[in-house]
Symmetry: C2
């Protein structure tokens, strides 16, 4: 039960650091080390398990990766959760995969202006009287005239100068802003609902207001949760499809 590894003969067990990690895991799960509490120091754990510091640290690293503890130089390792976090993730290499636009689309700009957006359309962006750069346009399948969606993009006034670039070149607006201003989109919130087609979108796509539309709204936030850019897109419902794939990650034991 104590020390199987090292130079002793039979080593056909799991590594020591895994066993230590599992043991600590159990203590955390059972509440022996409650959430918010400090773990014993590395030195104490070394003595308890009669292991070197490196081995103990390896065990702590596993717990850190699992999100169970968080260590800070000078103070100690604190229990953050009793069970591992993040069971399923929808991962993507780039935001483009979120949008699921085929690479052969282009964005045709109808109008660009700096104005105060009429309220009601963007209830959750905090557009209370502030001015935004408003870009309206159509996303088209390249080399065809089939519109994918009608878009309205609201750009934070800080980045208004991006308007100069939009006429030329290509690429998503958010990525151009990232490049030109050196900011980073840290978070995107997207929601999908079904509505009827608004007048402007219907006109732009040669549809009528009785047609059904899928409204996709997105907010792009920087690390301080400021809105860099927001967009509202109306898709003809019969052409809309959204697929996502989630896979399980981490956390094997505490769920059986």
């Amino acid at each position: 039960m104590t020390s199987p590894a090292k130079g002793s003969g039979a080593v056909n067990e799991r590594p020591q650091y895994v066993r230590i990690s599992d043991l600590l895991r159990d203590r955390i799960a059972s509440g022996s080390y409650g959430v918010g509490a400090l773990l014993p120091t590395e030195g104490e754990l070394c003595r308890e398990f009669r292991s070197s510091r490196h081995t103990v640290r390896e065990a702590l690293r596993l717990l850190t990766t699992a999100g169970l503890i968080s260590c800070r130089q000078g103070s100690g390792c604190r229990v953050m959760a009793a069970v591992p976090h993040q069971n399923y993730v929808h991962a993507m290499r780039s935001l483009d995969q979120l949008f699921q636009y085929a690479s052969d689309t282009r964005f045709f700009i109808e109008k660009t202006e700096v104005a105060v957006p009429e309220p009601g359309n963007f209830p959750d962006i905090g557009t209370d009287g502030a001015e935004w750069l408003i870009v309206r346009g159509l996303r088209l399948k390249r080399d065809e005239d089939i519109p994918i969606c009608a878009s309205t993009v609201l750009v934070n006034k800080t980045y208004t100068d991006i308007a100069e670039d939009l006429a030329t070149g290509a690429g998503a607006i958010y990525r151009r802003i990232e490049k030109r201003f050196g900011v980073e989109v840290a978070e995107v919130v997207q929601d999908i609902t079904v509505t009827s087609m608004p007048a402007r979108a219907a006109l732009a796509m040669s549809l009528t207001q009785t047609d059904v539309a899928v409204q996709v709204r997105r907010r792009y936030l920087d690390k301080d949760k400021r809105v860099i850019l927001a967009s509202v897109n109306y898709h003809p419902a019969d052409r809309f499809s959204y697929t996502m794939q989630l896979r399980r990650e981490g956390a094997k034991r505490p769920w059986s």
Copy 2:
């Protein structure tokens, strides 16, 4: 440029292992170490950077975590990708967050049978002539009669016995199967489209076939990609809303 750490005076730089990791990163990004190739051995890296093996391994660990390399005992560390993976993740602690059902809903079963599903409705499940346990029902807001959606659930014949449990107790079907049969949902694929309300769903929810419906299909796969369970849900469009939040993770440098 060579060795700043250790006992030498000024140590106010980033740790050695970070610098080594960054350097290797650059070589991978630039193609010096191409995708699929083997990295130099740990011993060689130790000599090149005049560092201990521990330090080099720490650097390699960073690259492993970033998904850039993959190391195997006996053979070596292989370059897996030139740029980090998984830039944005939609993380959730449980699949329930994917479905976004409020906790105060219940599932009312109308009918349970073992049969061959009519084709056309489930094109991508591989239901070619095989029998499935088919469960039809309504998801309701608890203590009210407002239906949230009409559901058809197809359970792999392996788990047909779960039918016995469904009449009693509560909980999502997938989770009951997990518990009873000791399997694990390793992956979920979900897609969202807009259609008209099918006859059966319209009837069940006191709607008409001219009403607009949001169709949400899901496949639950085990680790071998076998379908454990699939479901098709029809939501009244005016009550449907789907929100997701993605945050950036890892991978800071190669995107500017």
